[in-house]
């Protein structure tokens, strides 16, 4: 296994397998900064917090702590999102509006930031495709930078929009994950973010040419929702959604969706690379080794599965609080179960039976239809308790 790609990967090794103690020592500055920020929030606003707000705060604290320790890029990405978002919040509270401030109008306003995200991710997609077609590393580096920029703008947009839901009518305020437009922003940003993680972790930039086109089509759908359906308008929440559970249930669900999406498109990359290798094509020269793609698929599905399970359980607990039953066999719930069963089957086959290779890549790739139907199809074609996601 002494091919060139394995060697590129090898220097990463001591880092990859280092102990927990190393991880903790290395991320001490991150932990200190994050703890300080959390302590500031508690001292500044803690008086208004109930137990649920503390729960959400602790969840975010732990999630960012772990994420920043395991993936150091998070350590600068978080301030890169939080600082501009807070700047926009401060500008709003200082009486500025998109009408009288060009910074808000063109950059930081929720909608503007989301449009930036869309544009940057579209450019990034084109750059990834060019990178693979032209076999040009410089274009590839730009593709990664553009994806980072787009992802950060997406999260900035969501952060600012959260503030914007309160402006003008404080009773409307809600975390912006309540309608199709908002969750599509979240989907684009989180899929790109998790893709960046796998790209960096496996030094596998060519995968972007397969993953990002799907993000680009999601951006296309988002733009259609914005300009044809005007779904970017802020609307109040229906009673069923007014619950703190939404702040945990929906974001966790999208960690699952994002990872499943990445896994299935890496599956496609695997299949096409194999095919190209059989036919003597040149695609396999650019792509990572098949066993690396196989590993990305498995890692993404396992991680997505953990979060998808947690999110589904949180959804069931929320349903028990709101509707009096954990499980009502509502189409969305049933499809979530179908997705869960599908990936439970995949993981059993992969981990216990040790299946690898083309069949598993097909399974992973075809699963995107199941996931997409659960995420989108249910809302478009079926009716039920999750009908607020409708067009």
């Amino acid at each position: 296994m002494a091919n060139s790609r394995a060697e590129i990967w090898a220097p990463e090794l001591p880092y990859a397998s280092r102990t927990w103690r190393d991880t903790i020592t290395r991320s001490a500055p991150w932990a200190i900064a994050l703890t300080a920020a959390t302590a500031f929030i508690v001292f500044q606003y803690g008086a208004q917090f109930g137990i649920w707000k503390y729960t959400v705060l602790i969840c975010w604290y732990l999630a960012l702590l772990v994420a920043g320790s395991l993936w150091r890029s998070i350590q600068w990405a978080v301030p890169a999102v939080v600082i501009p978002a807070l700047a926009a919040v401060w500008m709003y509270s200082a009486g500025q509006t998109p009408e009288n401030s060009w910074i808000l109008r063109y950059f930081l306003q929720g909608l503007a930031a989301v449009l930036w995200m869309g544009g940057l991710l579209l450019l990034a997609t084109a750059a990834y495709v060019l990178h693979v077609l032209m076999k040009n590393e410089t274009v590839g580096r730009w593709a990664t930078r553009l994806t980072w920029a787009g992802t950060l703008m997406g999260f900035i947009g969501l952060g600012v929009r959260w503030r914007e839901t309160y402006i003008g009518h404080p009773s409307w305020g809600h975390i912006p994950v309540s309608n199709l437009w908002e969750v599509f922003v979240l989907f684009c940003a989180s899929t790109s973010l998790f893709y960046l993680y796998y790209e960096q972790r496996y030094r596998a930039r060519a995968l972007g040419a397969f993953v990002m086109p799907l993000v680009a089509s999601a951006v296309g759908f988002l733009l259609w929702l914005t300009f044809a359906q005007h779904m970017d308008r802020i609307e109040p929440l229906i009673p069923a959604l007014q619950s703190f559970w939404m702040k945990l249930h929906v974001p966790m669900m999208f960690v699952g969706y994002a990872n499943f999406t990445v896994a299935s498109l890496v599956g496609l990359a695997y299949l096409l690379t194999k095919r190209s290798a059989v036919r003597g094509g040149t695609l396999s020269k650019m792509m990572p080794a098949p066993e690396i793609m196989d590993d990305v698929m498995y890692k993404a599905i396992a991680f997505g599965f953990l979060f998808f399970t947690t999110a589904t359980i949180l959804g069931a607990v929320w349903a028990a609080k709101a509707w009096g039953g954990f499980w009502s066999w509502d189409p969305k719930e049933t499809w979530a179960l179908i997705v869960w069963l599908n990936y439970a089957g995949y993981l059993h086959a992969r981990v216990v039976k040790g299946w690898r290779g083309t069949n598993m890549a097909w399974w992973s790739f075809m699963s995107i239809w199941v996931v997409t139907f659960c995420f989108l199809g249910v809302n478009l074609f079926l009716s039920g308790l999750h009908s607020y996601g409708k067009l």
């Binding site: 090898a10 103690r21 007014q242 249910v378």
Partner: protein
Amino acid sequence: MGISGEMRSPSRRRLLWQFLGSMRLAVNLLVLLAVASIIGTVLRQQESYSSYAFRFGEFWFQVYRDLGVYNVYRTLWYMGIVGFLVFSTATCITRNTPRMLKEILEFPVRQREGAIRAQEHFLELHSALPVPALQERLLSLLRGYGYRPRTEIRDGLCYVAARKGKFNRIGYFLTHLAIITICGAALYNADVPVRWAEWMGTLVPETNFDLPLPKIPHSAWMPLHNLAYRGSVTLPEGDTADVVFESAGDGYLVQKLPFRIHLKSFHIKYYSTGMPRDFVSDVVLYGPQGQVLKSGLVRVNHPMSYDGTEIYQSSFSDGGSLLRMRSFLLGLPAMAAGKLVGKVGQTLKAGSSGYSVSLKNFKMTNVVPWSSVDGHAHPGSPVINLGPSFIYVVHTPQGGAGEFKTYMLPIHRDGQSFYVQGFRATRGAPYTYVAIPNGPHGGISLFVDYLAALQQALNGGANPTPAVLTQVFQQVAEVAAPTMPPEKQALFVRDSMLAMTQMHDYPAPFILRLSSFHHRWAASLQVTKWPGTIVIYWGCVALVLGIFILFYLPQKKVWAELREDPEGGSRLLLGGSADRNKLEFSRTFEFWQKNLTDATEIH
């Protein structure tokens, strides 16, 4: 024969035992369950049997009913698949437990050479270092990677062994036990004894929804000390109930509650856009002796709990509002509009005509998209408020019936105002909407008079030419609306013609319009008792924790054997394997090999 039979039967049993706990079966069951679950998402579940019959026709309706397609997730075959999956999981756990426990508890330092060589990764090297130095090198390498290696020296050989993630197998127990626990508790919550009684025929769902409570036969009552139930009751404001109803097939079962629920009031809070913001019921719970047990608000997302039961705000409807209506007879000229008063839920006799009117379903506000009224997009004002509405069913003396929906507020189009009236001859069919033009003084009497005059004229032998239509209208308008300008008259005639065409199949000889009302809400409260809930919570915690352990605390094992080489230096055998993250472990192992080889070369 006897001998071979004895020989074969245990092996068959073992085959069955292996089959039940096999991975192939588990994967197939997971996929089968996923496919079976799709059915219930394609077809709306638990609607009324009549609406299914309307959609599928009598033959297919019966086929689908027998297959249980209308309530897939409660059918025996679906429960059977779930049960089989649980059974297979339980078999799997029972079979694997002894082996896995042994694996967790026992980790021998000494390992046979063959076993070391049989590991997924294996290396053998010769080193110039003496055994203690090479051993020290290996130990520090392993410690650097977070292992805690153990050493044993026996018969001149030095053994080193280390492992990480010893508790990985716990993840297996947690996840699989969690699945069994969750499914078991869910079955318990689904009230197995009641389902069983229903299946055995000792409990019979009642299908007549109009029976008063005391007349519901005893066979439809669930026992007072039922372990688990989930029923709902619709309470008008000011009323009290001590039962809830649980739907079962095309009927319902009655559950007696250990307390009485009194609904003091219900109200809806709105946002400035007219969207509902919250649904709030103010309720009091009374004990059997009339003492107050608890009182407070029941809101969406904020149920009230009392002694193991939870009370939820589930929906709302009309609780018997008082309606004052005007009735317009179609086809009788110059008749003053009649007056009718009744409460929602009542059936009124329409004079001595033999017709009767049942009042149903009063609704306070109807904000609907413009497109659903006339099919056109109206940029700027996408929604329209049609005001209060109510539904009435007219029973004809011949035994026929028609259903009508009438809105109180008019809509405006091209300077003309219309009342919207929906009607349908069959329940479950879509409404046909007709827009009836209003006269200059408001109200539909001008239209009704015009219709009557036209019918009279046509019965008298006139042809429905445009001139005749206009002329008849002018005669009517001279009396009813003398100040109406001619261009308005032309518009009115056009709109009336349209409405009359739409009313071609109108199934009653009169129209009711709402003139005023006194509103009274009813709230639907859901009452559940689910003692299995806490078990489900713990099952969920175990599931998530188990998945985490399984994927993120993989078990890695390393065994080494060091021996002195008779020709000088030492020999090392090192074998290792990981049950997850195999790629990563193989890279690590390559790195170890390089590191240890380097160590040999330097000296």
